[in-house]
C-alpha cells in the first residue's frame, strides 16, 4: 500500500509542477498555454540526448535542459501569444498555443523518434522500492518549486511585477511596467520550470515525444482542482489527482482512472468553479 501512495504522490508531483508552470504564464498573460506539457517533453529529451547519446556529464544535460526550456518558453510567447492577445480578446491563444504544441511534438517525433528512450539515473542508486529516486525526485521538487515560486512572488521585484500584472496588466503598464518584457520573461521562467519538471520526472516518463500532451492535460486538471493562480492549490491539486489515479486503480480498476479524474474536474467546476484555493475575481462595472 505504501508503494501505491508513493507512486500516486510522485505522479501528483509531476502534475503539480506542470500546474505551477501554467500559473507562471497565466500570471502575466491570462493565457493557459496548451504547450505547457511540451516544456517537460523537450527538456527531458534534451537532457537524455546529451547524457546518453553524446555521453556528456548529466549536469551539462541538466543545464542544456533548462536552456532548451527557456528558449522554447520565449519562442512560445513570441510566436503563439504576443500578437494574438494584442489583436483579439477572443481567446484565440487556445488555437495558437495548441498549434505550436502540436508542431513541436511532431517535430520532436521526427527528430527524436516515436519510441521512448531511457532517461539516466540522476543519482547512483539501485532500485529502492518506495524510496527510489524516480518517486521522490518529482515529489520533493514539486514542493520546492511551489515554495520557491511563492517566495519569488512575495520577495522579488520581478515576482511582484508578475503579481501586479496578474491583477491588472493595464494599470501595471500605466505605472511604467514593461508588460511585454515581463510577459516574455514569465514564459522564459515557465519554460525553464517545465523543462526542470521533465528532468526530475524523466525516470518515470522516459524521454518520450508523446509525454507532453498527457502531462499538459493532467497538469491542467490539477490546476483547476487547486485553483488558477495559487501555488498551494497547484500542489494540492496535483497531489489529489495523483493519489486519485493510484487509488482508483487500487480500489476500482485502471479503466476508471480517467473517468474519475475528469469527473472530479467537472464536479469541482460546478461546486467550486474557482478551485480549492482560487479566489473569485470581482470586477467593478
Amino acid at each position: 500500500m505504501l508503494l501505491v501512495v508513493v507512486s500516486g504522490l510522485a505522479l501528483g508531483g509531476l502534475y503539480a509542477m506542470t500546474a505551477l508552470v501554467y500559473n507562471v504564464m497565466y500570471s502575466t498573460s491570462k493565457v493557459l498555454s496548451f504547450g505547457t506539457g511540451q516544456f517537460a517533453m523537450v527538456g527531458g529529451i534534451c537532457a537524455a540526448w546529451l547524457a546518453l547519446d553524446l555521453h556528456l556529464p548529466l549536469w551539462l544535460g541538466f543545464l542544456a535542459c533548462l536552456v532548451s526550456g527557456a528558449v522554447f518558453g520565449w519562442l512560445s510567447e513570441l510566436i503563439a501569444v504576443r500578437r494574438i492577445i494584442a489583436a483579439s480578446d477572443e481567446h484565440l491563444w487556445v488555437l495558437s498555443t495548441l498549434a505550436l504544441s502540436t508542431m513541436v511534438q511532431e517535430a520532436m517525433g521526427i527528430l527524436w523518434g516515436t519510441d521512448p528512450t531511457p532517461f539516466p539515473r540522476v543519482f547512483p542508486q539501485e532500485f529502492a522500492g518506495s524510496f527510489d529516486q524516480k518517486f521522490w525526485l518529482p515529489l520533493i521538487f514539486a514542493v520546492l518549486m511551489a515554495v520557491g515560486l511563492e517566495q519569488f512572488y512575495r520577495r522579488s521585484m520581478i515576482g511582484k511585477l508578475f503579481i501586479a500584472m496578474s491583477e491588472d496588466a493595464f494599470a501595471a503598464r500605466a505605472r511604467g511596467v514593461a508588460t511585454d518584457r515581463m510577459r516574455s520573461l514569465s514564459y522564459v521562467l515557465a519554460g525553464m520550470l517545465g523543462a526542470f519538471a521533465g528532468f526530475v520526472g524523466g525516470q518515470l516518463t522516459f524521454a518520450d515525444f508523446a509525454v507532453g500532451t498527457a502531462l499538459g492535460l493532467s497538469g491542467f486538471i490539477a490546476l483547476a482542482i487547486g485553483g488558477i493562480g495559487s501555488s498551494v492549490g497547484a500542489l494540492v491539486g496535483g497531489a489529489i489527482l495523483g493519489m486519485l489515479t493510484s487509488l482508483t486503480t487500487h480500489y476500482f480498476g485502471a479503466e476508471y482512472q480517467k473517468t474519475i479524474a475528469i469527473g472530479l474536474l467537472i464536479l469541482l467546476l460546478v461546486v467550486r468553479p474557482q478551485g480549492l484555493f482560487g479566489t473569485t475575481q470581482v470586477r467593478q462595472v
Binding site: L3, V4, S7, G8, A10, L11, L14, G109, T114, D115, P116, T117, P118, F127, G129, D132, G201, L204, T205, F206, D208, A210, V211, T213, A214, T245, S246, T249, H250, G253, A254, E255, Q257, K258
Partner: protein, 404 residues
Amino acid sequence: MPKTTPGLIGIGRRRLIQGIGAASLGSGLAMPAIAENKPIRMGWIAAVTGMFATNAQAQDWGFHMAVNDLNEKGGLLGRKIEIVMRDSAADPSKAVSFAKELVYNENIDVLCGPINSGEALPTIGIVSGAKKLQIIGGSVEQLIDPVKYPLGFRNLNTNGQWIKVGVKFMVEELKKTRIAIIDDNTGYGVLSRDTAIHYMEAYNLKPVYTATVDPNKPDVTDELLKAKAAGADVLTEWSNATGFVARLVNARGEQNWMVPLIGHPAILAEAVAALLTKRSYWEGCYGLGYAHQVVDAQGNLPANVRAFMDKHKDGIGPYLAAGLPSFLQGHAAVAIYAAGVEKAGDPDPLKVKAALESIPVIDTPYGPFSYTPTDHNGYRDDAIKLLVANAQLPNQGYPPVKLG
C-alpha cells in the same frame, strides 16, 4: 491549294477507310503480343516515413528484393514486374488517395498494402470496387471478408491468431490459469483484451484481473500490485507502445514478482530492453513471433530464410534492426501474388483469386499460407511461435522455448 484540297479529301476518305480497316486489323493482331510483353504492374503502398517508418522501410526493402529476384529469373509469365510505389506516411487519408490513384490511374494489376490496419481499412472498399486484387498487410480481423471483398487476401497473421496462440501457451504449456490481462486504452488494446477473454472462455477461464491503461501513464506500479493482489500467476499484456510495455516489465521486476509475462511482439524489442532499469527484468517475458525466427539445434534459421538473407547480405544491414518479420512480410506479399499468377497463367484478378484459393500451401520465408474460397487470411497457426525475450541470437533468430 484549291486543287489539292478536294483531291486530298477524296483520297483521304478512301485511304482513311482503308487505313482504319488496316489499323484495326493490325492492332487487333498486335494487341496480344503487346499484352504479353508489357510489364506486370504491382502497386505498393507503404508508410516508409512517419511513425511506422522503421518497420515499413524494412518491408519495402523485402518487397523490392522479392521483385528483383523474380525479374532476375525473367519476371512472371515471361513479363517483367514494375513496382508503382507510394509512401502513405502513416496517414490513412493519403493511403486512400494513393489507392484510388493506383487502381484507377496507374492501371496496376495488383495492390499490395497498405501495411498497417489503420490505413488498410479505408482502402479495401475502393480496391474491391475497382475489381483489383489486394494483398493486405494489416492484422485486424475486419480487413478480410471473402464475401464483401472477394479479391482481398492477407499476407500476415491476424491479431486474433497471436492472442489465440498466446492463451494456448499460457494454459497448455505454462499450465497457468490465473491470468491477469493488462492492455493499453487504444482501440487495438481494448480489442485485444476482449479477444483474449474470448479465447480464455474456450478453457472455461476468466481473467482474475484486467486493467486498461493509458499508455502514456508514467507509472504502472499500482496496476501490477493490483494484479498481484488478485492472485494472478501469469500476466498477459496487449500494447505495441514500447514505453508502456517497458514500464510494465520494470514494475514487475521492481516488485520482484517474476511471473511469466506474455504479450505483443513489442515486448521482444530491443527498444523495450533499453528502457528497463535492469536487463534481468526481461527474464520470463515471452512475445509472439514466428517459426521463421526460431533456430534449429545448430542455431540456424530455416533454410529459405537463410537463402534470402544470404543472397541479399550486402543490403540487409540497415533493415535487420526492424526484425526478420518486417522484411519477410514485404517479401511474402510478392511471393503470394507470384504463386497465384504462375498458377493462373494470367494476371487477371479473378483468375489469380481462384488460383490462390486452390493452392494447398504457398511456402514463403515468412511462413506458409493456405487460402480457401471462404478464408482469405491464409497464415497458419502453426507458424506462430512464442519467443523468449532476451534470447535473441546474432543472426536475429531465437532458440525454441524450453520450459521446466
